[in-house]
Symmetry: C2
Subunit: 348 residues, 2 copies
DNA sequence: CTCATCGCAGAAAGCGCTTGCTGTCACCCG
DNA sequence: CGGGTGACAGCAAGCGCTTTCTGCGATGAG
């Protein structure tokens, strides 16, 4: 029914071994023989059996990419960049590889399960993106899993994710703390003193780092951090909308609001507008990430640009062994402050 | 080195066959035995070898999802919905499946190559999204490939994509023509007569259908379509920006511009603003798709909402055999007109 | 002219799992 | 109390490929 290597071999009058070697091209085969084999492959419309080949060779050409939410451009951009580098029909980077994009939905359990699934498939490499939950038990489980993967020969790269020491995984971490601090200092430089902060979900490292950076920025200028000025929520527009309303309720004298990311910032903007406040006339707003839509917001969003595509591409290359890992297996990726229309001098 | 089924069997004092059956749960195994096996699996930290299992069982639990660009929310949303339905650790939908998201970048060749790769992996199902190129040779090649896949037992679903008759593939097509017509008629209803149209790339079916719908809308109200009012470009913001400028250059008296999709519409808005024109005061703008950011644009974008997530979820279920295919294997998915701030009565 | 050498092709032993078929008990019914 | 019937467990034959090792003819050196 299905065409196998043996069929091709028979038609080309050679042994299966020879066909395999022609297809893999890692063993000398006479040109005339090769040609004959290729012709047979073509005539029979032969398609290699991936599982069989993976079993025999003890490796597969699958590469896993873990993301929190593929519908979110933040992850989409990274995934796209990673994929463009891991080979596949896209980038001419050696053998054709298949990228397996896994949606963890931010759930630690799913993350673990997907890793097992990938391990089961004997994936060639795994790139993990997205946040890390600050739960000791989960981190230990993750680290154990990652270690097992690297020990089994799977290359593991953390992209935009804090390092996992002792696991053998290479990490390209975003400098969330530094970026957030720079952003807050920009607002302070404009004259803002009462700055609200819409943070991400509690218990996430990204949330904590960005918040810490914000506070460091305040501290650097001797501004006391008022706990009423911080509200936690999800990393989405809706959460931003609600958080902004809450912030206003707590202290209507705020002159600026920093959001955990751009989506949240958009929600904040909508809430402010719906409350009759002008941006940046009444309240300045700032985001984080610099996703494509941020420049199109009106006014355009002041934010911290994270080099998502570059970091993803680099992670992809490292995962493929086409670029050396950074010294110590850890690199910090800096963001860049993008000052745009949504931030201005405070009113009054 | 690596733990195999046999190791587990030895430890649990049973035969490999029994272990396999416990793990697959499709054969009666005594509770006490099962427990013993599970214990051994746990103790040895056994991970099933995917390729070996796929080879022996002649099926794999991989599901392919083809998208044009994973960084584009249009595809991200569909991919996410599809994935949530195909099982995986996310949706509790039977066995754990791995979604393979493939970025075709809109290239017909890559589309074909990915399909071969998926065929090679003996994928359980494949969901294709994204546009179709109107090239006869390519379509024939695609159809042949799809037929081969369905013949090999792979379920093939086209999501938001025109049907491929005779291939055995199920199609959930978006009613681009109808949506575009409705949108244009909405503008006409407001009083617009000179309506610019920023179309997608030529030679794509989606582009053609939307443009045809637009023209049908004009025709229905006896408005002659002026060829100068149509500009083609890519499906992105940049193209929209440039196209809008070109449109204005050709005829500054346009009172409305319809864009091929929301991203393009955003570019159009930016260009209009940069030209000192108000929206919708001077020119009304409309998009297509209703992506999440469209409601946040200022003014919010009038557009046609495509039920991306619903269609994706349905496609996923059909691919998994958990929902029956529509009669004839073809269903048309309608869009819904979303009237928002970017469209108003024409000036003057 | 002989023997080591080289270049290429084939034989065959798995890779780790699934599954049809064949036992082997234990139990129940007559 | 015997044979029929189930409920489980094991045997063993692959699944389709890779790869080591062996074989063989041709070539070049001595």
């Amino acid at each position: 029914m299905t065409v196998t290597l043996a069929d091709v071999a028979a038609r080309a009058q050679v042994s299966p071994a020879t066909v395999s070697r022609v297809l893999n091209g890692n063993y000398p085969v006479a040109a005339s023989t090769r040609e004959r084999v290729l012709k047979a492959v073509d005539e029979l419309d032969y398609v290699l059996n991936g599982p069989a080949s993976a079993l025999a060779a003890a490796t597969s050409d699958l590469v896993g990419i873990l993301v929190n939410d593929i519908a979110d451009p933040f992850f989409g951009i990274m995934a796209s960049a990673i994929q463009s580098e891991i080979g596949g029909p896209g980038g001419r980077a050696g053998g054709e590889r298949l990228a397996v994009v896994c949606n963890t939905g931010g759930s630690p359990e799913r993350e673990l399960t997907y890793l097992t699934l990938l391990q089961r498939q004997r994936a060639a490499a795994v790139v993990l993106t997205g946040g890390v939950v600050e739960d000791a038990a989960h981190r230990a489980a993750m680290d154990a899993k990652l270690r097992k993967l690297t020990e089994a020969g799977t290359r593991v790269v953390l992209c935009g994710r804090p390092p996992a020491p002792g696991t053998g995984a290479v990490a390209l971490a975003f400098d969330n703390r530094g970026g957030a601090q720079e952003l807050t200092e920009h607002l302070i430089g404009l004259g803002h003193r009462r700055i609200g902060y819409v943070a991400g979900p509690e218990g996430q490292m990204t949330t904590r780092h960005r918040l810490e950076g914000h506070r460091a920025g305040l501290a650097a200028h001797g501004i006391a951090a008022d706990p009423r000025w911080v509200v936690h929520g999800r990393y989405d527009r809706q959460a931003g909308y609600e958080a902004a309303l809450e912030l206003l309720r707590r202290d209507a004298s705020l002159t600026a609001v920093v959001a955990a990311n751009d989506s949240v910032a958009l929600g904040v903007c909508a809430a402010l507008r719906d409350s009759g406040l002008g941006i940046p006339g009444d309240v300045s707003v700032a985001g984080f990430d610099d996703l494509p839509f941020s420049v199109d917001a009106v006014p355009a969003l002041t934010t911290v640009r994270l080099p998502l595509a570059e970091a993803g591409a680099r992670a992809g290359r490292i995962a493929m062994g086409r670029e050396e890992a950074p010294p110590g297996g850890i690199a910090s990726v800096r963001g860049e402050l993008m000052v745009r229309g949504s931030s201005g001098v405070p009113r009054g």
